[in-house]
Symmetry: C2
Subunit: 458 residues, 2 copies
Amino acid sequence: MDEIKKYIDGNKESFINELKDLLTIPSISTNAENKKDIEDCANWLQSHMHDIGLENVKTYQTEGHPIVYGDWLNAGDNKLTILIYGHYDVQPVDPLDLWNSPPFSPTIVGENIYARGATDDKGQAFVHLKSIEAHLKVKKKLPINVKIILEGEEEIGSPNLDGFIENNKDLLKCDYVIISDTAMYDYDIPSICYGLKGLCYMELDVTGPNKDLHSGSFGGAVENPINALANIITKLKDEKGKILIPGFYDDVIELTAEEKEEFRKLPYNEDEFIKELDIEEVFGEEGYTTIERKWARPTLDCNGIWGGFQGEGAKTVLPSKAGAKISMRLVPDQEPEKIEKLFTDYVNKITPKSIKVKISASHNAKPAITPIDNDAIRAAMKALEHGFGIEPVFMREGGSIPVVNTIQDLLDAPSILLGFGLPNENTHSPNEHLNLRNFHRGILTSAYYLEELSKINN
Amino acid sequence: MDEIKKYIDGNKESFINELKDLLTIPSISTNAENKKDIEDCANWLQSHMHDIGLENVKTYQTEGHPIVYGDWLNAGDNKLTILIYGHYDVQPVDPLDLWNSPPFSPTIVGENIYARGATDDKGQAFVHLKSIEAHLKVKKKLPINVKIILEGEEEIGSPNLDGFIENNKDLLKCDYVIISDTAMYDYDIPSICYGLKGLCYMELDVTGPNKDLHSGSFGGAVENPINALANIITKLKDEKGKILIPGFYDDVIELTAEEKEEFRKLPYNEDEFIKELDIEEVFGEEGYTTIERKWARPTLDCNGIWGGFQGEGAKTVLPSKAGAKISMRLVPDQEPEKIEKLFTDYVNKITPKSIKVKISASHNAKPAITPIDNDAIRAAMKALEHGFGIEPVFMREGGSIPVVNTIQDLLDAPSILLGFGLPNENTHSPNEHLNLRNFHRGILTSAYYLEELSKINN
């Protein structure tokens, strides 16, 4: 491993330059106008995977954006086979005016590289390509069998991934799945994430009168769809953050006393958290700590709202339409389809007769808890300690990675969530970035992990 | 008057063609990018007023958009002097995709001409220019002294009109002010409007965390400014439409039994009203009829709302900011400044500590009741009967025309509100239009009115 470490240390700069190239491609999956960029990104990855020595590299077309696959399977049957999963698509960039540098012109400031996708998930996925490269360039082989898939639809709910996995079970067959798409607990606290929230993302489209009206001539006679929408949103959550949809909490598994105790032991400074976000106080369901709410309690947020006149100045309109995007983060054992139905029934029930509401489901993801009592987790703990020189912790996260469930269900393989991002790297926000020291420590960890996994008998 | 009527009838088509030219100019006062169009419109009107024979025609610059003035003052001291007020600025045109023809390409369909400003207020103001033209071309004189001002900032609250009137009291001195910026009660029901609502237009800008956050990682820990804004909006009005701001109704003058009785006598079909707007039911404060609420009860409407992700697809953001425009329509004796303070105090009180709210006043207008027991009103009734061949009615309106109060206060002259628009002509909405038969009947009415006013001794 010394030679491999030397290779990784020696190529620090060139790895960063390659990452810059990858981050330059605006592969936003939700925007139709970025379709060509998504294809460019898949092509870039295919070439790169081929160049570092992966075999059977291929771009698989789907009904949406393509999936890039590669493998190296010459370690022998007595060695484990892992599947590394990542995604090369990114979130939209608006509001653009809040970025300090253009989102697709990667810019290094201090230890960080700023660009959309830096941490979610191009940078983290690239970690594994570099560790594979190090092994293959130095040793001409990998210590275990490795498969890798990089998808282009994670940020839109992976609509074509299930079908792809279903149709390629042999291709993707593996013992464990490695995913680096989460955050470490903190800068010097390497972590394994074992719990992820699910998601139920809905849209409400409210219609009042059949055309925009003059608020003077029609105010007081006709219900205003914005006011009505505000009333609906208000009825979804009480003022302490408890969700009011009947049945919503029915399937929620409460945290164990042991988990609560583990969470409590983690270093956490609420005053600093408050100061960093420039808020007066935290907000959320009573009876739980902030970490418990973030990691293990379901939440509901309005992700977008619109209606009427949004321009400069004043327009006295009573609009015809208004709308909102609302997402719920779910915890085990909440089922997104059941929550979708509870939400829909409730909104229909509380919608007044004076307006019409169209309720649509945008995308769903199941919550996940991964097993932490297995050899691959123990190997990951060792690899993290090698890579970072610090003992790692276990944590949960509020985000969703639907593929964890898909893979568990379809490939019957547990996931290992090895996050190299940091919680404040502005995922989904302006000025997204990745700490380049963690990028480097991540590559070392991944390289050690391949080695540690080779010690496990298959 | 026969010759004048003949002139007006004979020029029906050319008057419409001239109106089309005027409607082609996109004189949107609220948009900075239309500043040049506003100037073009003022220039067009100045030329036109000069061409029809008005004297002392001049464009007065203000700190905002210009005011165009003209007069004809040769009728003698024993004749009345009237001031005709109108405005040449128009509302914004969005949502543009709902227009059946481009808003600044005037298009005639059936009896209507479609264009932004057709009824509010270019078309209605133009009525008086054409009646003045008819008198001056046929008789070489007007039967009374006439002054006319056309302003370019009505749709943004006339910020420079008060100052202009204050500084030009002698120029504008008059016995009565004639304003055509309201709607008739119905197609064959010519009307004089004697009551207008006031306006208090506010903007709320809500800030939660100092940057957009990932709703998975931060949901449950940080208040969402959209949800908080929805809560604030919900607390402004109960579910029946009663406004919950403490003290809001303190100065409201209740309708008299006589007024209620007059309203009840007007032809009104609520089922048709509901059907035309494609709603299931009307909405508003309990204990009042729809006409009473529209004309004589204060209202509160959200005119616009925004925040977070409004694009196609799903973005799981917990946004930093959200905002809304909220207007209240006021009735006598509510004072906009007092209401602004009550609104501000209440919103500050109900805003949770977890977010910050910036409350700004956009523009204010006082409500108005004009006297209906005077010679000029009686002359207007006669002129409407001549122009339409139908006996007119008295009505009130939910819109605001701030100049009515300004003129009452600064020039000590009562206003006569002679509306030639119709209630369903989509003022402030897509597909604004003016009925061209009413445009013609309006010109006749205005011509007869000058004649009727000449019978009053000064």
